[in-house]
C-alpha cells in the first residue's frame, strides 16, 4: 500500500524540487563550514542582504551601457552581440553580487578597525545600509522594466519545475543547472584550497607568515558566499540560503572533531534537510487537517534543519546534552560506589559485631549522603561486579571488593597525611579535600604521593594506611563475630568515615 501511495504522491515534480533544494543546500553548507569555524556565521546573513544593491546596480548599469551602445551606429560585431544580453542573466548578476560581497567584508572590517565598533555591530551597520540602498535602486529599476523585488528576495522553490529544459531527454529545472554550476565551483574551491582554508581559518597569523595570504582567502570566501546567495535567491528564496549556510555546519560541528568529516557530514545533513523538508511540506498540512494545502517548501526545509540540530544537540555522542548528563551521572555513581566500599572497609576495620554493623542499604545511603537513585545503582553495580555481597540484611565486602576498597582508603589517608604535612591544613579540615582527591587519584599518582610523604604507616588521625595494591596480601579480613578488635580510636567521629 505504501508503495502505491508513494507513487501516487511522488511526482517527477517532487524529484525536481528536492534536487534544486539539495543542490542549493549543499552549496551553502560547504561554505558555511568555514563561516561557522571563523566565528562569522552572521556574515552569510549580512551578505545575503547586502547583495541586493549589487543586483540592482548591475542591472541598471547593464541597461544603461546597452542603451549607450545601441545609440552608436557602427558597432563591432562582438559588441553588438553583448548588447542583446538579458540584463537579468546569471553572469551579470554574479558580477554585481561578487563585488558587493567583497565590499561588505571590506566595509565591515574597515569600520571595525577604524572605530573600535564591535565586529557584529559594524556588520549590522554595513548590511542594513546596503540593503536599504538596494531596495531604493530596485524600485528605480522596477519603474523601467520588470525586475521584481519579490522575485529577487523571495524566490519560491515550488516554482522550480515550471521552468525546465530538456537535457538528454530528461526535464531538468533551469535552476538545477545554475545551482549545479555553483556547487561545482564551491566544491572545487573547498577541495583545491582545503589546506589553505584550514590554516587561514585556524591561525590566520601563522598562515600569513608562511606566505599563505589569509586576507585573500577571506575575500575569496566572501565572493563565493555572495555568488551562491545570488544564484540561490531566485530559485529557492533567502530563508533557505541563510539556514543552510549555518545550521548544517553547526550541527556537524557537534558530531565530529575533524574538519574533513565536518564538511562531509554538513553536506549529508544538507541533503537530508532538502529531502526531509519537502516530505514534511507534503505531509504536515495533511496531518494538521488541511489536506491538499501546500506549505512553503523552502521554509519547511529550514524547519527540518532546525529540528535536526536540536536532535543532535541532545543526542550527539560527545558534545550532546544527553550524553554529557549521562557521563556526569556515570561519574557520580562511580564516586558513590567507591564511597560505599570505603565505608564497608572502615566498618570491617572497626570490627563491630554484625548486629551493630550499620550496613543495611538505608544506613549506607544515609552514611554516604547519596541520592536514592545513585545509591541504588551503585549497590546494584557493586553486587553485579561481586565486590559486595549481601548476607541477610547487611552488606559485606568480598575479597575482590576489599582489595579495591583498601586502595581508596589508602588514597584518602595518604592525602590527609600530605595535606597535613605539606600544606598544614588543620586536622579537622583534612577530611573534606581528601574525600574529593581520593576519587581522582590514579595508581601512578598514588605511588608518587606515597613517596612524597615517605610511606607512613599511619595517617594524621592515627588510622593504619593500607599497603599498596601489588603487595596487598588479603587484608586482615576481620571475622566480625570473632575476637573483637582493639577498641575504636577515640578520635574517630561516629560517621565511620575517617
Amino acid at each position: 500500500m505504501s508503495t502505491t501511495l508513494a507513487e501516487f504522491l511522488w511526482l517527477p515534480m517532487d524529484t525536481q524540487i528536492v534536487l534544486v533544494g539539495a543542490l542549493c543546500a549543499v552549496s551553502c553548507a560547504l561554505l558555511g563550514v568555514f563561516l561557522v569555524l571563523r566565528r562569522m556565521s552572521m556574515m552569510g546573513d549580512a551578505i545575503s542582504h547586502a547583495v541586493l544593491p549589487g543586483l540592482a546596480g548591475a542591472f541598471l548599469i547593464t541597461v544603461w551601457l546597452q542603451g549607450c551602445a545601441r545609440s552608436i551606429h557602427a558597432l563591432p560585431p562582438w559588441l553588438s552581440s553583448l548588447v542583446d544580453i538579458d540584463p537579468r542573466s546569471g553572469p551579470i548578476m554574479m558580477l554585481g553580487a561578487a563585488l558587493v560581497g567583497v565590499l561588505t567584508a571590506l566595509f565591515t572590517e574597515w569600520i571595525h578597525r577604524a572605530t573600535n565598533v564591535d565586529e557584529g555591530a559594524s556588520m549590522g551597520v554595513v548590511f542594513t545600509i546596503l540593503f536599504a540602498l538596494g531596495l531604493i535602486l530596485l524600485r528605480r529599476a522596477a519603474d523601467g522594466v520588470d525586475l521584481d523585488p519579490d522575485c529577487v528576495l523571495n524566490g519560491e522553490i515550488a516554482r522550480a519545475p515550471l521552468d525546465v529544459v530538456r537535457i538528454a531527454g530528461i526535464e531538468t529545472p533551469r535552476a538545477a543547472l545554475s545551482l549545479s554550476a555553483v556547487l561545482a565551483l564551491n566544491a572545487a574551491f573547498v577541495t583545491l584550497f582545503y589546506k589553505e582554508l584550514k590554516i587561514s581559518s585556524f591561525d590566520p597569523q601563522l598562515a600569513t607568515t608562511l606566505g599563505i595570504n589569509a586576507g585573500a582567502m577571506h575575500y575569496a570566501l566572501m565572493v563565493l558566499v555572495a555568488i551562491t546567495t545570488v544564484m540561490s535567491f531566485e530559485s529557492v528564496g533567502s530563508i533557505l540560503v541563510i539556514a543552510m549556510l549555518i545550521v548544517p555546519p553547526a550541527t556537524a560541528h557537534l558530531l565530529t572533531d575533524r574538519l574533513g568529516t565536518m564538511i562531509v557530514v554538513s553536506a549529508a545533513l544538507a541533503v537530508a534537510c532538502a529531502v526531509g523538508g519537502h516530505l514534511a511540506a507534503i505531509v504536515v498540512p495533511g496531518m494538521l487537517g488541511y489536506p491538499g494545502v501546500s506549505t512553503s517548501t523552502a521554509g519547511m526545509m529550514g524547519v527540518v534543519s532546525g529540528a535536526l540540530f536540536f536532535v543532535v544537540m541532545l543526542l550527539a555522542p560527545r558534545h550532546g546534552v544527553l550524553s554529557r548528563a549521562l557521563r556526569r551521572a556515570g561519574l557520580h555513581v562511580n564516586i558513590v560506589r567507591e564511597d560505599i566500599i570505603a565505608l564497608l572497609y572502615r566498618i570491617d576495620e572497626r570490627g563491630l559485631p554484625s548486629s551493630h554493623r550499620p550496613a543495611a542499604p538505608s544506613a549506607i545511603r544515609r552514611a554516604i549522603r547519596a541520592p536514592r537513585w545513585s545509591g541504588w545503582l551503585a549497590l546494584a553495580s557493586l553486587r553485579s561486579n561481586r565486590w559486595v555481597e549481601r548476607r541477610g540484611t547487611h552488606y559485606h565486602l568480598t575479597a575482590l571488593g576489599r582489595d579495591r576498597a583498601a586502595q581508596i582508603v589508602r588514597s584518602h589517608r595518604l592525602w590527609e597525611t600530605y595535606l597535613d604535612r605539606h600544606i598544614a591544613v588543620p586536622s579537622d579540615h583534612l577530611h573534606g579535600p581528601a574525600e574529593q582527591l581520593e576519587h581522582v587519584t590514579t595508581p601512578a599518582l598514588l605511588d608518587e604521593l606515597a613517596e612524597s610523604v615517605e610511606n607512613p604507616p599511619r595517617d594524621p588521625h592515627g588510622s593504619v594506611i593500607p599497603p599498596a595494591a601489588s603487595r596487598t596480601a588479603a587484608p586482615t579480613a576481620p571475622d566480625p563475630d570473632a575476637s573483637p578488635r582493639p577498641t575504636p580510636r577515640r578520635d574517630v567521629p561516629p560517621d565511620n568515615r575517617r
Binding site: K195, F202, L210, G211, H253, D257, R258, T261
Partner: protein, 301 residues
C-alpha cells in the same frame, strides 16, 4: 613553577664558542653572498650575516608609538630573551618582524634580506590564546601546518612532510597524543603543540611569544630541552619572556625592551639590576628585585 632538578646554570664559555653547525637546508645557501652585496652597496652598519637585523623600526597603533626607533642585531646561534614590562611592545616586536603589523618606519632583514624573501627561514610560535582550540583538527594536523609554507598552493601534503611533522611531535613528547582533538589537551600540551609546529617549519630563526606562560613543570623542561637542541643545531631563538628569575638560567643574551631598546647583549653583562630598573621604570617591585638577587646568587654558586 620550579622544576625538581633545575638545569645547571648556562656555561657561558661553552656558549661563546659556537657548536659545530648543523647542515643547512638547501634554501639557505646562497643567501649570504647576496646579502653581503646589498649591505656593501648601501654602506649599512649592520652585519649582513645577522639572523635578524632591525633597522630604526617604529610601530604605532592609532598614532601612539608602541615601539620607537628599535635598532637591533640578533647574534647568531644564541638563545635570546626579550624582557620588558607589560605593554613594552614585546609581542608587537615579533609581529612587526613578521609583517603582521604595519611598520610606521624602518625595516627588518633576515640574513640580510627582507622577511618576504626569507619566510622559510623564520619560525613563529604565537601566544596560545591567539587561536580557537575548539577548531576541529587533531594535534598532528596542527603540527603539519608548519609544513604548509613548503607544500605549495593546491598541493596535497606529501609523505616526507608528514614524517617531518611526526619527528617534531616526538621531539616535544606528544607522539602518543597525535590523534587527539586539540581542545582535549592541557595548556602545557597545547603550548608544546605550537612548539612542535614551529620545529616542523625547520627554520633558522625562531620567534616565540611567551612559550613559558602558565605551563606545567614537564612542559617547561620540554621547552628548555628544545631550546638547547635548537641552539646546538645552530639556530637563533628569540623568546618573549616574563619570568625575570629564570632569565639568567635560560638565555645567553637578553634584549631589554620598553618601547625603546633599553639594553641588549650577553645576559651576564646586560641583565643587571640597574638595567632592569631602567626597563621597568618604577614598576620593578621589591619582590622582583629580591628574586633577581636570588637568581644571581644561584648562578654565582
Amino acid at each position: 613553577m620550579i622544576p625538581d632538578h633545575p638545569p645547571a646554570p648556562p656555561d657561558f664559555a661553552a656558549a661563546a664558542a659556537p657548536p659545530p653547525r648543523a647542515p643547512l637546508m638547501p634554501a639557505q645557501r646562497g643567501g649570504a653572498p647576496l646579502a653581503a652585496l646589498s649591505a656593501a652597496a648601501t654602506g649599512d652598519e649592520h652585519p649582513a650575516s645577522a639572523p635578524l637585523s632591525i633597522h630604526d623600526m617604529t610601530v604605532a597603533y592609532h598614532r601612539k608609538p608602541v615601539l620607537w626607533d628599535i635598532d637591533y642585531d640578533a647574534p647568531a646561534e644564541k638563545l635570546i630573551g626579550i624582557v620588558g614590562p607589560n605593554g613594552a611592545g614585546k609581542s608587537t616586536l615579533l609581529k612587526a618582524v613578521l609583517n603582521l603589523v604595519p611598520k610606521a618606519s624602518g625595516r627588518v632583514t633576515i640574513f640580510g634580506q627582507p622577511f618576504a624573501r626569507q619566510r622559510r627561514r623564520v619560525g613563529y610560535v604565537p601566544q596560545r590564546e591567539s587561536v580557537d582550540w575548539n577548531f576541529p583538527v587533531s594535534v598532528f594536523d596542527v603540527v603539519l601546518m608548519g609544513r604548509y609554507g613548503r607544500v605549495g598552493w593546491c598541493r596535497p601534503v606529501s609523505r616526507s612532510h608528514r614524517a617531518v611533522a611526526l619527528d617534531a611531535l616526538q621531539r616535544v613528547g606528544l607522539t602518543d597524543l597525535r590523534n587527539r582533538q586539540i581542545s582535549q589537551l592541557s595548556g602545557g600540551q597545547q603550548q608544546r603543540v605550537f612548539l612542535a609546529r614551529a620545529l616542523a617549519q625547520d627554520a633558522s630563526v625562531y620567534l616565540m611569544d611567551e612559550p613559558f606562560a602558565s605551563v606545567d613543570a614537564a612542559t617547561e623542561k620540554a621547552i628548555v630541552a628544545v631550546l638547547h637542541e635548537l641552539r646546538a643545531r645552530g639556530r637563533t631563538v628569540l623568546v618573549v619572556h616574563h619570568d625575570l628569575q629564570t632569565v639568567p638560567e635560560y638565555f645567553d643574551h637578553v634584549l631589554l625592551l620598553n618601547t625603546r631598546v633599553v639594553a641588549s647583549g650577553p645576559t651576564r653583562d646586560v641583565f643587571t639590576i640597574e638595567n632592569l630598573r631602567r626597563t621597568y621604570g618604577g614598576r620593578l617591585t621589591l619582590l622582583e628585585e629580591a628574586a633577581h638577587a636570588m637568581a644571581r646568587g644561584a648562578q654565582a654558586r
